[in-house]
Point group: C2
Chain length 138, copies 2
Amino acid sequence: MLSKKTKYGLKALTFIARSEDDMPVQVGKIAKSEQIPQKFLEGILLTLRKSGILGSKKGKHGGYYLRHEPSEIKMTDVMRVLEGPIAMVPCVSLNYYEKCDDCPDETLCSVHRLMIEVRDSTLNVFRNTTLADLSSVD
Amino acid sequence: MLSKKTKYGLKALTFIARSEDDMPVQVGKIAKSEQIPQKFLEGILLTLRKSGILGSKKGKHGGYYLRHEPSEIKMTDVMRVLEGPIAMVPCVSLNYYEKCDDCPDETLCSVHRLMIEVRDSTLNVFRNTTLADLSSVD
DNA sequence: TGTAATCCCTACTAAACTGATAGGATTAAT
DNA sequence: ATTAATCCTATCAGTTTAGTAGGGATTACA
């Protein structure tokens, strides 16, 4: 299941991308427009900022803005920040690899082989989708 | 993340498929060979039986067996039984569709569109993979 | 007919995770 | 100063996960 955190995060990013006139967007505005609990959203945008996807400006008239063009922001990066590893098992994760306790030989493990295929096909989607695709209104 | 339940279930199915000489396979044998807590595995095999993927024979010399040829057992079915819906959000689920509370218009929702693509690519893997693929030793 | 092996079923539990709330500290514009 | 924003930490109720416990029901076979 996609966590609410990720869902909210994606919606917020889309919102910011759509309202780009180089003015920072306030959490409150996003929360209201997208029906997201504001305090919850605060934390989400914070992690997006810490990861380098968003920038922020503090104080009055502050808010969040994209650090790069929407077309440069790949879903692989966004999803990893919000949802964690893309692979469904650590033993097929590119960025968070971990060996299974059981499983003496990965190449013989049926789960391993299946999950590599799932990872690759999901990765293929995320690599070929940017925030620009999400926020286009076609 | 893939649940242990699913992981264990897939390993067990693979084990049964590999040791097919038409004799039912005992939970204890699978548990020992695959390093799975036996009581936990019991429950998993039970749900696989109730779903029609496995059959069982009670009493001495009893055990579990496949109800169909491995090449007929598609991962779509197995995954839905073990892991639940394949879609990451209910609003793009084929078998368990549910509208989002928020989201007045799905066709305009960025998350919706992205998740449809993920669903389709994952589905494509599961539809083209059978237990025979998992249990082959190439 | 008794006994051992096996599936079957229900209930319980500890730990982790999720989604959210609370309360305030810090910063900046006016 | 006041106000409006981000930032940070802690807390919490509910759910899920992974597993354990204990036994009931069924069958093979001596």
